[in-house]
């Protein structure tokens, strides 16, 4: 067929997650995550620790085609369709908690590890998911300086049904220096197997009734190049994210079950600058600000930073020496509305990389990460009655790495 380019693709992926030896989930002497609704441990101490060795064997098949048709002047049409099948074909587990599949009695602290593979007491059900999809997109140059991209994608999943998602992008070459973009998109995220099929887990339970998460996003973007050496980008965005899959506490104990419970809206902007100060020195930087709101809790959304600054300089001192320095400043991360801990502190991480090309084949480098040895933490998730990791997740302190590269 004239003016049509078609590409077919097929792939098969077989993978497994296997555990060598016993995987100790909670340390020796711990009472584990088994708590009453009041936070009191149900069991005494586990003398060998809480042990679980979950293993998964899975395969994924993908078939499809993409086609491009440019037979209509000023239109560039692409379309495609495909099929996906993913299967968890084997799940095995040995553990020293839960219920013994032979005696049906609880496995108690001090009991040996029990093989629960191929029983209803394993951590995940074996299952498969099929997805068929089709999409079409047209890039239409409807005027000299205006281009409209319109696309539509349809997905049908065997486990939760169909979803249709459009996208629109209007690009305007406003002037020699400036390009302006108006963007709208809808998208979804399918629930994972762990979110739908986790069972017998003391912490989280899957939910076969889950629907995909949905997001609608609006964006206005400016790409401004006032000179050859300077590029400035400014983006404003707004989004509405619904049916967010969250693990909601169960009334009956310390576990949580996946639900399409959350809704979040957000707005913000990102500013980026790239400046070639000279042949040898390049500076880049960006600043991002966002205000996201947890609609159900009517509170600021948790964990993601409200402000971020990133700066980087790349300096080619001469033909041999090169220095890169970058700084990342993370600010204003909110706790979840029901998290009583003090706010997690802001941090600045500075990294440096000094490199010397000793010859065409040989180069050496000294890399220093977290040069200022900042005490930096990422927030750990909240849990009731207390977070499992209460003191947040520490990032690495100052580290030195030496590197020698030789090209043959």
């Amino acid at each position: 067929m004239p003016n049509v380019d078609i590409e077919f693709h097929a792939s098969y992926f077989d993978t497994s997650q296997e555990v060598e030896g016993d995987f100790v989930v909670f340390p020796v002497g711990s009472t584990g995550p088994f708590l009453t609704p009041l936070g009191v441990p149900i069991f005494g101490a586990f003398p060998d620790g809480v042990i679980g060795t979950p293993e998964i064997f899975e395969n994924h098949i993908r078939l499809g085609f993409t086609a491009q048709y440019d037979g209509i002047v000023k239109h560039d049409i692409s379309f495609g369709s495909g099929y996906y099948e993913g299967e968890i074909d084997k799940v095995t587990e040995e553990k020293n908690f839960g219920r013994n599949p032979v005696t049906l009695l609880p496995i108690l602290p001090g009991d040996p590890v029990v093989d629960v593979s191929d029983t209803p007491f394993v951590f995940l059900t074996e299952d498969e998911r099929r997805n068929t999809y089709a999409y079409i997109q047209d890039v239409w140059q409807f005027s000299n300086d205006w281009e409209l991209t319109a696309g539509l994608r349809y997905d049908d999943y065997s486990d939760f049904g169909a979803t249709t998602n459009p996208r629109l992008a209007l690009v305007w070459s406003t002037s020699y220096e400036l390009t302006t973009k108006f963007l709208y998109g809808e998208a979804f995220r399918a629930p994972s197997f762990a979110q739908t099929r986790a069972i017998n887990n003391p912490l989280i339970q899957g939910n076969l009734e889950l629907q995909p998460e949905q997001i609608k996003s609006y964006e206005v973007a400016f790409d401004y190049r006032p000179s050859y050496d300077l590029t400035l980008n400014l983006n404003f965005f707004h989004y509405n994210w619904t049916d967010i899959i969250q693990f909601i506490p169960d009334f009956s104990g310390s576990s949580r079950t996946a639900q399409n419970a959350g809704e979040q809206t957000g707005k913000g902007f990102e500013f980026e600058a790239r400046w070639s100060v000279s042949e040898a020195l390049k500076l880049t930087g960006n600043f991002a600000w966002q205000d996201s709101h947890d609609e159900l809790a009517d509170a600021p959304a948790a964990n993601s930073p409200e402000k971020q600054v990133y700066l980087r300089s790349d300096w080619q001192i001469d033909t041999r020496w090169q220095i890169n320095v970058q700084a990342s400043w993370v600010m204003d991360r909110n706790r979840s509305y029901d998290d009583l801990r003090t706010p997690v502190a802001d941090y600045v991480l500075v990294d440096m990389n000094i490199r010397n090309m000793l010859s065409e084949n040989l180069e050496v480098a000294l890399i220093v990460n977290n040069l200022l040895d900042e005490d930096a933490f990422e927030p750990s998730p909240n849990a009731m009655p207390v977070p499992f990791i209460p003191n947040d997740l520490p990032l690495a302190g100052r580290s030195f790495i030496g590197e020698i590269r030789y090209k043959f």
């Binding site: 140059q141 000299n144 002037s175 050859y228």
Partner: protein
């Protein structure tokens, strides 16, 4: 690197195809040591030359202070392709037995075989005809003492596609800037500015002024420097270094075999063409499949 200090062993010896029994059938591609990424241009041309020569071939990288005696000893009875102006001046007059084949120089030299880096004006004109077919007038700003003679041939080539070539002579960069400023005020749809190969007049600020005016007044800017396309020139025609090397290798083989072709440099016809899609859209030029046959790279709109 060690190979560069003094007269070195050839850094590469490739054997392909028939070998001559005497050293006249052996090719050495000589080029000056310069820093990357520029050295890569010579390396690519040398690779093409080895392919085009189809015989025993080696490369010699010249240090700045290379001894002429050593060069003479090593190259006297060889077929030699020399690349770059510095390479030519280092090899001139060392007493080679075979005629020199010259490549990668920005001017036409007399008394040698070879190819310059300057695309043939006929090829440039044919690309203009395909990519901006409504162009009627092309303006060039040329160095009064240097480019004018070459442009007489270009005028004929453009006339053949019914385009008039107007040559504006400039004595220095300030003079050129004034001419460009006048042009930017006068040019309109159907006009084009050709930035000549090896142009030293158009610096970054002047290029910005020219391209802004071209955007406002819908005239075409084309050049022989691919980075100008990144910045908004409609298209650029520049050497296909590998194919240029292949042709140099073929010329060297013909000379080695005693070809009686006149001793002169050939115009460069092996070129790459890059087009800026944002600029072509702005000018209302739709890049059709037929046009794509003449284009090697389309720089997508932002």
């Amino acid at each position: 690197m060690a190979a560069l200090a003094g007269l070195s062993q050839p850094v590469l010896a490739a054997e392909a195809g028939p070998q001559g029994s005497d050293s006249n059938r052996a090719l050495t591609v000589v080029y000056p040591q310069i820093r990357q990424p520029f050295l890569k241009v010579y390396e690519t041309i040398a690779r093409g030359a080895t392919k085009g020569f189809s015989g025993k071939a080696s490369e010699l990288v010249l240090a700045k202070d290379q001894s002429r005696d050593q060069l003479q000893n090593q190259l006297a009875d060889k077929m030699v392709i020399v690349l770059g102006s510095r390479g030519v001046s280092q090899l001139r007059g060392i007493g080679l037995q075979r005629p020199l084949v010259v490549g990668a120089v920005s001017e036409q030299l007399s008394g040698v075989y070879g190819l310059s880096m300057i695309p043939d004006a006929g090829v440039v004109a044919s690309k203009l005809q395909v990519l901006a077919p409504t162009t009627l007038r092309v303006f060039v700003v040329a160095r009064a003492d240097k480019n004018i003679a070459d442009l007489a041939a270009a005028q004929i080539a453009f006339n053949q596609i019914d385009v008039q070539l107007f040559i504006k002579e400039a004595t220095d960069i300030r003079d050129a800037a004034n001419i460009y400023r006048k042009l930017t005020a006068e040019l309109k749809v159907g006009d084009a500015v050709w930035i000549l190969p090896g142009d030293r007049f158009v610096n970054n600020p002047l290029l910005s002024i020219l391209l802004q005016a071209a955007w406002r007044s819908d005239f075409v800017v084309f050049s022989s420097n691919p980075t100008h396309v990144n910045r908004g020139a409609l298209f650029s025609v520049y050497p296909d270094n590998y194919q240029m090397g292949v042709r140099l290798g073929e010329i060297a083989r013909q000379v080695a075999e005693g070809s009686q072709a006149p001793v002169q440099m050939e115009p460069l016809r092996s070129v790459f063409v890059t087009v800026n899609e944002r600029t072509s859209n702005h000018l209302g030029i739709t890049i059709t499949d037929d046009m794509k046959e003449h284009v090697d790279l389309i720089l997508p709109a932002r």
